[in-house]
């Protein structure tokens, strides 16, 4: 008797499991292409924010190298996109992370031009305090545009620090830790890019497309 009911219930559960996972799988196949497209669009949008489209003519998101350099933060490998114009290197777009924020890691995207200047910086993900640390986000304040056009001159460039530490970047009222972490991380990533610019362009492409 009990074996029979176990058998029956088991069958019913199996049928439901098949039906529910089946419908999820179906929807997944229908949406997969569109989701990939959306993610790609989002990536292109992000990259274009730090490097205007007029600066490159290659398919940016398909040309990258991976790096485990400690300058780019923990939890590598970090992706570095390579921008080119007429097959000449123009800029490196570096995804880097700083663990020194107020809460959790801060993901940053920095574009460094061939002439060693920074073309743009964006914070792509963070968990900083709303209203205080989150002013590093462009949607909240234009602080992050202070980086545009600057360059890192030495490994320990004293200008690349918040004003409180003798540098040129504003800190926020009530939040010094966040901008300090971002400025340090951008400095290190930019210095890394300047030092390894040609080397990075010679490395093999890790994002699929042939040049």
């Amino acid at each position: 008797m009990i074996v029979q009911s176990m058998y029956k219930n088991g069958l019913i559960l199996t049928a439901f499991a098949l039906a529910t996972t089946g419908s999820v799988a179906l929807i997944q196949t229908i949406t997969a292409e569109r989701i990939a497209e959306q993610e790609q669009q989002n990536l292109v949008k992000q990259l274009n924010q730090v490097l205007p489209q007029s600066n490159y003519d290659n398919v940016l998101y398909k040309d990258c190298v991976l790096s485990n350099a400690p300058e780019l933060g923990p939890k590598g490998p970090h992706t570095i996109y390579r921008a080119m114009m007429n097959n000449q290197p123009t800029a490196l777009l570096i995804r880097h992370i700083t663990p020194r924020g107020y809460s959790g890691n801060i993901d940053i995207l920095t574009a460094v031009m061939r002439d060693e200047s920074i073309s743009g910086v964006r914070i792509t993900r963070h968990e900083e305090t709303p209203g205080l640390g989150d002013k590093v986000e462009l949607a909240r304040s234009d602080w992050v545009t202070t980086f545009n056009g600057l360059t890192v001159k030495t490994k320990d460039d004293a200008d690349f620090a918040v004003k409180k530490d003798g540098g040129q970047f504003d800190q926020f009222t009530g939040a010094t830790i966040t901008p300090r972490a971002v400025v340090d991380s951008v400095k290190e990533a930019t210095w890394y890019a300047i030092q390894h610019f040609d080397e990075l362009f010679e490395a093999d492409n890790a994002c699929g497309a042939t040049r």
Partner: protein, 232 residues
């Protein structure tokens, strides 16, 4: 017809999932920091609730009592995953801003609560209606809480509505006032708890007043009566 009306009253007011049953507080408190997020999660929850209620009601004859809970869980999980995939595909911006809270709809007890308490005992039509009304009740609380927190915390309304409704919705954004620094408590989780507490208190006050009114109308004044017992 009157049954539909009762269900409507119950879902939106009398047995509101957020204010009375106090179910699904995790997504409610976490996501209600702006009206846009609240609206997005409200709609997603409503869709899941209607879908799961209808499905549970349709299969209720074939599901033995002993295994109903795992079956309901599978149905709800499937619906949430489907909604998550659809949002990821068609409302990417909102998907990113709601983040982890879409999969968390699975843990919203209001959904399995309605499946167990209502949909497993009623036909598909009534269950769908119950899902809509309960979902509306939940979404309304989310919206009110979201509006309160957004106005107090950021001084805006419908900030980022374009993520949900398309580019035209940028026009919806209302800037009521600007602060030099935001009112943090309203944005952070404590503000959500305080806000919800105030909403529940407000609902209770209104209920009391309705009750008090009804009592004074219904009972005619009684003649004063001398106490004649317990004189020892």
């Amino acid at each position: 017809m009157s049954q539909l009306k009762t269900l409507m009253k119950e879902g939106v007011w009398g047995n509101n999932p957020a204010l009375v049953q106090l179910l699904g507080l995790c997504p409610l408190l976490a996501v209600s920091s702006t009206v846009t997020n609240a609206l997005g999660l409200g709609i997603a929850t409503l869709l899941v609730l209607v879908g799961s209620n209808v499905t549970v009601s349709l299969v209720r004859e074939w599901v033995p009592k002993e295994i109903r809970i795992p079956v309901f869980v599978m149905i709800i999980a499937a619906f949430v995953t489907i909604i998550q995939l659809l949002m990821n595909a068609y409302t990417f911006g909102l998907y990113q801003s709601l983040g982890i809270f879409i999969p968390l709809i699975v843990t919203n007890c209001a959904i399995i609560g309605r499946a167990e308490a209502f949909a497993s005992k009623n036909n598909a039509l009534l269950s769908a209606w119950d899902g809509i009304m309960m979902g509306l009740g939940f979404a309304m609380v989310l919206l009110v809480l979201g509006a309160m927190r957004e106005v107090l915390g950021q001084g805006t309304l419908f900030d980022g509505a374009n993520l949900l409704l398309g580019e035209w919705a940028t026009l919806l954004r209302i800037e009521l006032f600007t602060f030099d620094s935001q009112f943090l408590v309203a944005i952070l989780p404590p503000g959500a708890f305080l806000g919800l507490g105030l909403l529940i208190a407000g609902k209770n006050v209104i209920d009391e007043q309705i009750k008090a009114k009804a009592v004074t109308v219904d009972t005619p004044e009684k003649a004063p009566r001398a106490r004649v017992t317990n004189l020892t």
